[in-house]
């Protein structure tokens, strides 16, 4: 009885120690590089419920996103903003 308890304890301890040796998989799920397209948006932040998406373009619309980025890029040109 005592021996069985000790064996059980040793097995449980071993399993607990070995659990620390696990690691996350080192490859992508599909095995290839993938990334979502930027115009798919970032949605609402799960933890805060905040939407960080800039206003003025429709999420999911590639053309709208490209226009938004172009507009934002042109915003860096103070010659067109000030003159």
């Amino acid at each position: 009885m005592r021996r069985a308890a000790l064996t059980l304890f040793a097995l449980a301890s071993g399993a607990l120690l070995l659990a620390a040796c696990t690691e996350k998989p080192q490859t992508n799920a599909e095995g290839v590089k993938h990334d979502a397209v930027p115009w798919s948006g970032t949605g609402t932040q799960a933890n805060t419920g905040t939407v960080f998406t800039a206003p003025g373009w429709k999420v999911g619309d590639k053309t709208a996103w490209e226009q938004q980025i172009k507009l934002r890029s042109n915003g860096q040109n103070e010659y067109t903003r000030e003159n």
Binding site: K33, G41, N74, Y79
Partner: protein
């Protein structure tokens, strides 16, 4: 759309390190890792110039060529990104990169040298857009939010430009054509009136 590009105007950069701070804050980059930094040439001497340097998202990226585990990929927008789940932290990319972009955190899975970290053009990485996993590994995905990289948008003198390569090139071209020297410099009139550079002020002094 053309490729996403950075351009830094050395005539405008004032070495304020605002871009570095913006990047660290936006992406919560760990201590000891600088995805972007300001390099000053001839520091303290006449003609001193500063430029802000990070990953230039090369069209033919040497880091991508030397990576033994093929962890790099390029998006359709020309942004060079990498997969930290595949990176083995060997450091080959840091030897290959002419800009010193790849950084290695000192506290990582591999002890002395962790998995590579670099500028993502604020485009996140191969995780769901805007997810916690993406933020934790790669930082904010501002492109998917319809914004440009924080460093460029934060630049006070607009020395650092980011965005569609064609647009950025047009902005820079306009700037170079307009700025000239002395009183021709943009903003001179606002700061000093119509007085020409080096000309003593006119009018009677009483």
């Amino acid at each position: 759309m053309a490729r996403m590009k950075f351009v830094c105007d050395s005539e405008r950069c004032i070495e304020c390190n605002g871009c570095v701070t913006a990047c660290k804050n936006e992406n919560e980059v760990p201590w000891g890792v600088n995805r972007r930094r300001v390099v000053t040439l001839n520091d303290g001497l006449p003609g001193e110039k500063s430029i802000s340097v990070a990953c230039m998202h090369c069209s033919d990226a040497p880091c991508m060529a030397v990576c033994p585990v093929q962890c790099f990929y390029r998006t359709d927008e020309g942004v060079v990104l990498h997969d930290k789940d595949v990176c083995i932290g060997c450091g080959y990319c840091s030897y290959a990169c002419p800009f010193g972009a790849p950084q290695f955190p000192s506290q990582g899975t591999f002890g002395a040298r962790g998995k590579m970290d670099k500028c993502t053009f604020c485009a996140g990485g191969p995780e769901a857009n805007g997810s916690e996993a993406e933020f934790e590994k790669y930082g904010r995905n501002r492109l998917a939010e319809g914004k440009l990289p924080a460093c460029a948008e934060m630049c006070s003198t607009k020395a650092l430009l980011a965005g569609d390569g064609d647009v950025v090139a047009d902005i820079f071209r306009t700037r170079v054509l307009h700025r000239g020297t002395g009183a021709e410099v943009w903003g001179w009139g606002t700061a000093y009136g119509s007085q020409q550079a080096g000309t003593p002020p006119t009018g009677d002094k009483k």
